[in-house]
Every structure is written in C-alpha cells, then in structure tokens.
Symmetry: C2
Subunit: 144 residues, 2 copies
DNA sequence: ATCATAATTAGAATAATTCCAAATTTTGGC
DNA sequence: GCCAAAATTTGGAATTATTCTAATTATGAT
C-alpha cells in the first residue's frame, strides 16, 4: 500500500509516473492532486470543477475515468452515503465516514485500537470480506 | 417499534388499517406483504413485479411512493450497496448486510451480543447518530 | 351525499454515471 | 527520431434509478 496521506497541498508533479501499476497521466495526477489537496470528500463533479482551475481542458468523462482508475488501483477510496453521489477519499487507512447532517460535511472516523470486525458481527465461519463500508449520519459533537 | 418480523407469507389483509401512524392503503399493504413474503431484499422494481401478480393495476410510481412511506414510518428499512439500486428489508432489528459476490444474495448479519457502536469507533464526544449503514461484500462461508 | 384531503397513476423530467466512437497522446521497437 | 500499436482523453449520446407533475380516484369526516 502506498502512503500519500501525509502529502498536503500536493502538486501534480509530486507524483511518480506510475503508481500501484497505474500510469500517472497528466489528468490522473491532477485528479489525485485535487483529492489530496482538499480532503473534504468531493464528488466527481466537485473534482471536475476544481481540476478545471489548473487544467481547463479536462472533461467530466475523463474525471470519471480517472476516478475509476484510481479507485480500482486502490489509490483513492470511493465513499457512498445512501443514494447520494459518490465521494472520494484519499485516506487509505482503515476508517469509516460520518456525515454531519447540519453542515453536510463528512468526517473520517477511525476504529478503536485493536478492534476487529469479526468481534462485532455474527458472521458464518469461512466468510471472506472483500469490501466493507460503514456510513453514519447525525449531529457531530460540538466538543472535540 | 412494531414487530412484523415473525409474519411469514403474510396476506395484505393481515395488516391493520393503520400502522405507525401510516394509513395502510391497498397498495401499501400489498407492497408490505411482498417485502415480508420473500425476504430477499428486493429492489423497487422487484417489488413492483411481484406486487403486480396480485394487483395488476399497481404502478411503479406507487411502489416508490409506498416504499418511501413505509421507510419513513420505519416499517421497512432501505438497504444500499454502493451505487446499486436500493433494496428493502423488513427486519427491523439491529443488523447489517452482507452480499455474497458469487450469488448476489444478501444476508442479514447481526451484531454480537452486547456490542455497542461506540466501543468500535473513535467518535467525538456528543456525537448523535441518527442513521447507520454497514454493508459488506465477499464470499459467504460454505459452512453454516 | 358533500366536501376536503390524501393516495394513486401514467408519463415526463432529472441527474449521476456509463458508453461510444473519434481524436490525441504515449509507448516501445526499430 | 519515426512509426505502428496501445492507451487515454474527449464530447456527446445513452442509460437508468428515482423523482416530479398534473390529472384521477379513493378515503374519511361531517
Ligand atoms: Mn468501495
Ligand atoms: Mn436508510
Ligand atoms: Zn475518508
Ligand atoms: Zn436486512
């Protein structure tokens, strides 16, 4: 697993020409830079609008193509809340998502130390989990 | 909270004329009977097709209206897997969903006894959770 | 029965995403 | 560097789940 998590305000040039076996084209770099730059879980359209700032010729289809490439190579994560449009998250560590219903903002939520999913769920023996998504909504705590 | 969970192969007539403050119209009864009858987490269109058997005049718009009414009155639950169409579940007890990638079938998964969400997640103090969805995908265990 | 309100219906509209076919860019071999 | 093949990008069309609209029908209260 790569670790791009610490890269704040990244420039597209910061990325090598290949990542996780995926060719890093100009557009893919730009899309990745957008997602790493402001970690607010943007939608595809958000990414499109932001990417156009530095790359006015990029198309929405390309943004979707890039997102799909980045997700399938596990460079970014796709995040879903019910039937809302998908959002994208550069945090590759184990975590889930909480949406504050007042602000609409999405927060990363990490698991407590040492907890394993199997400790929580009655899963039949031999179950192999390939994908897990936990999404919460509610009122974010005022205190930190 | 009502408990319709034990009702197997229900007839629309089994339901009272009002449930959880919701008027039980012919169509709402039929939609609910479909969801309780075969507990395979049908999509809206699945429900529509099945409902038409006994009520050939029902419309898809009505199925959507009924589902929205039943969900908002907490008589059934809406279940989402990534960007797939929503599915509907009559099990009102606390549980989450596992989709077997081989068969596509969705299984209810219950939480182990006594576990609380706050034991698993680093949530800021004062967080109020109004909605929670946990969706898993993978290979279902061959052994029971 | 009358009236007001709520629910149903068919079809149109919406919107996120995917598909398509053409144009462009990149790559690797020479 | 030049060329052919392969990969990527692009604009626009297509898809599809869901929502909306406006007309019709059913319900419940008086
Ligand atoms: Mn995912
Ligand atoms: Mn829900
Ligand atoms: Zn995240
Ligand atoms: Zn269920």
């Amino acid at each position: 697993m790569i670790s791009l998590d610490h890269v704040h305000d990244p420039k597209p040039e910061d990325f090598p020409s290949e990542l996780e076996g995926l060719r890093m084209t100009k557009q893919r770099r730009e899309v990745l830079a957008v997602i790493l730059g402001e970690r607010d879980h943007p939608t595809a359209n958000d990414v499109f609008v932001r990417a156009k700032d530095r790359m006015p010729t990029i198309s929405l289809a390309t943004v979707y193509n890039c997102l799909e490439a980045l997700v399938s190579h596990q460079i970014v994560r796709q995040v879903n809340f019910e039937r809302e449009s998908s959002r994208y998250c550069p945090n590759l560590s184990d975590h889930c998502h909480f949406q504050d219903e007042e602000s609409g903002k999405i927060h990363d939520v990490v698991f407590k130390d040492g907890v394993k999913l199997e400790d929580f769920l009655e899963l039949p023996q031999g179950t192999e989990i390939s994908h897990l998504e936990i999404s919460l909504k509610g009122q974010f705590g005022t205190q930190k």
